[in-house]
Amino acid sequence: MRFQDEYRDPVAAAKLQTAIARVATRPWTIMEVCGGQTHTIVKYGIDELLPPQVELVHGPGCPVCVTPLELIDKAIAIAGRPEVIFCSFGDMLRVPGSQSDLFSTKASGGDIRVVYSPLDCLKIAEQNPHRVVVFFAVGFETTAPANAMAVAQAKKRNLNNFAVLVSHVIVPPAMTAILSSPNNRVQGFLGAGHVCAVMGYEEYIPIAEEFQIPIVVTGFEPLDLLEGIYECICMLEQNRIGVGNQYSRAVRREGSPLAIQLIHDVFEVGDRKWRGIGTIPNSGYRLAPAYEQFDAEQRFDVAQFAVQESELCISGQILQGIKKPHQCQAFCKTCTPEHPLGATMVSSEGACAAYYNYGRLRHPMAVGSETYQIHRRDRIGNVTLD
């Protein structure tokens, strides 16, 4: 397929693999920020192609993973109301809240629909004037323009039966939080290509300078990842600080000014809780006052929901690259992909889920057994086992 096969070429991949092994003279820990990149790494086994001194750490860029527990509970409370048609991207339906998930709400009679675009919800709202259509507006800066567009359009069309449950998060504050942690291990970042296609990469320059690290804006195909890793290691080896752009076919320095304008019209920046990590200042979007009428939390009075995460789950430390999945006492015991306790086991691209599967391949007897011992240094999924 054009514009795709070119970026999955095995010959070019082998060349990049050799080049990475050649330039990496020391151990380096690189974090890819975005869940889409993690997905490619897991799907194509890219981490296995890297020399042992290069370690990839999965970042907090999976919107499914970082959506806080109470927001899922709010979604479930709203979706269970008889007047509501609750619309969501598909992969949010499986995410467990504190008691239940949206799939179970659907089975109990909730009208829950999977949509591919928030704009589809406006059509549903117009077709169902006596019901309230609520869209679960989740994601990073990538999904923000389309979600902003839906809200702006709803206002223009006077659609009073449309609302959004907003859980938008922003990448740069999360990177700053990770780098500021006393336990930080991350030495370089692969920047999230699609986020930067919207926002540009100027806002990453101060982060690179403050923390003296390289950040390479990277795409999502296997060759993009390999090339991004190569560039990042070159910068690390040469002690170069700053922002590189591997994904120049999609990302411009200034991003997409129209999309940015739309986001700023509809949303304003505010504090946001990240599942497993906690509240990060100025790390999310909420509706701007001019669009408050579309805020589902106010409309359905669920703003006060508060929930405690499982005390056993250490996904916050895993999302920051501080701990490894097998260091969690719940891993493979009370926490599995079928019954996840926390963020990183929920999504297939979460670190624990990836580790669970790869652990099965490398150590078939280990998973689930009490004698889960790792005797050799080995890279599994996203982590290094000692």
């Binding site: 397929m1 795709q4 999955r8 070429d9 095995p10 991949a13 082998a14 693999q17 975005c34 869940g35 889409g36 997905h39 897991v42 799907k43 194509y44 086994g45 890219i46 981490d47 296995e48 192609l49 999976c62 919107p63 499914v64 991207f89 598909g90 992969d91 949010m92 339906l93 499986r94 799939f103 629909r113 999977v114 949509v115 591919y116 589809d120 989740v138 994601g139 990073f140 990538t142 999904t143 699609h194 296997p222 060759l223 390999l226 992909p337 079928e338 599967n357 790869y358 099965r360 391949l361 078939p364």
Partner: protein, 361 residues
Amino acid sequence: MSNVIDFGRMSCPLPLGERDRVLLGHGSGGKMSAELIQNTFLPAWDNPVLSALEDQATLDLSSWVRQNGNQTPRLAFTTDSFVVQPLFFPGGDIGKLAVHGTVNDLAVGGAIPQFLSAAFILEEGLLIDDLRRIVASMRAACADAGIMLVTGDTKVVNRGKGDQIFITTSGIGWVPAGRTLSIHHARPGDRILISGTIGDHGVTIMSQREGIEFETVLKSDCAPLNGLTEAMLEACPQIRCMRDPTRGGVSSSLNELATASKVGIKLQESRLPIRREVRGACEMLGLDPLYVANEGKLIAVVPAEATDKVLDAMRRHPYGKDAAEIGTVVADHPDMVVLKSVIGGERVVTMLAGEQLPRIC
């Protein structure tokens, strides 16, 4: 003002003998039920067993015994329910699917499909014309597969209590002496073959469903595989096992196989036959073709030395022309399917946990 009466616009107030929609009365067991059977079902399946209208089909097995060297043959018996929406889709409809689905479940066990039953649950309000189209399609599908529909049933449920039409079919076939295909028989060294491109049916259905405004030129691969399986078994009677990767796709079939035979399976991503349109649709929707349903494909596990012979036989058959060898059975990592990606890395292909869901990013 005209005093001329327009007779062409008038209609008789007496009820019509035939309805254009299914009514609750069609399931009453009374006159309306009989009418539905007489006018809709019987004309489609004109065979002496069904037309006898007994409470049961009485089957004569003597010809099988003769063909089986005067020994009583083993019977294969299977059942499946069909609930697809939309009812009509490019490449097929629920009726064709209901016949071929059961035919294929028999065929991949090495059985020769013979008799079929069909039970219909109709929702009040279903268009009789739609029902006729479905029945006509089932008739053509039966003829195509060489199977005889010998018994059936119809029920009608209140509007809102069904999804237009549900069909359950059961099938009986006989297994010629010496055939012992089983999911437990895969051995290290065996090769994994697939009869053609994967994901066609699932992506076709998804592209047709309401809410996904995504058009493709794809058709469902819905087809009877009993001709293909016979050709393959003729080429190599030692085929270990065959499966039709319907719901859950290729990954579920192979995982079940790995578990049952206590072996590992190594797949080569670069060898998977996938249409460009399916790849494109899956990329856009965030789906993996390995988990998407097929309705006219089979996976076969064959001894390594017979690979070329079986592949040749498959490729000569219209439903196997894109057949390919996609992997190997290994002794390593038992119970696991591992895929070598196009760029050389490996990953575990797990069973689908729930429904395959489009990803946000």
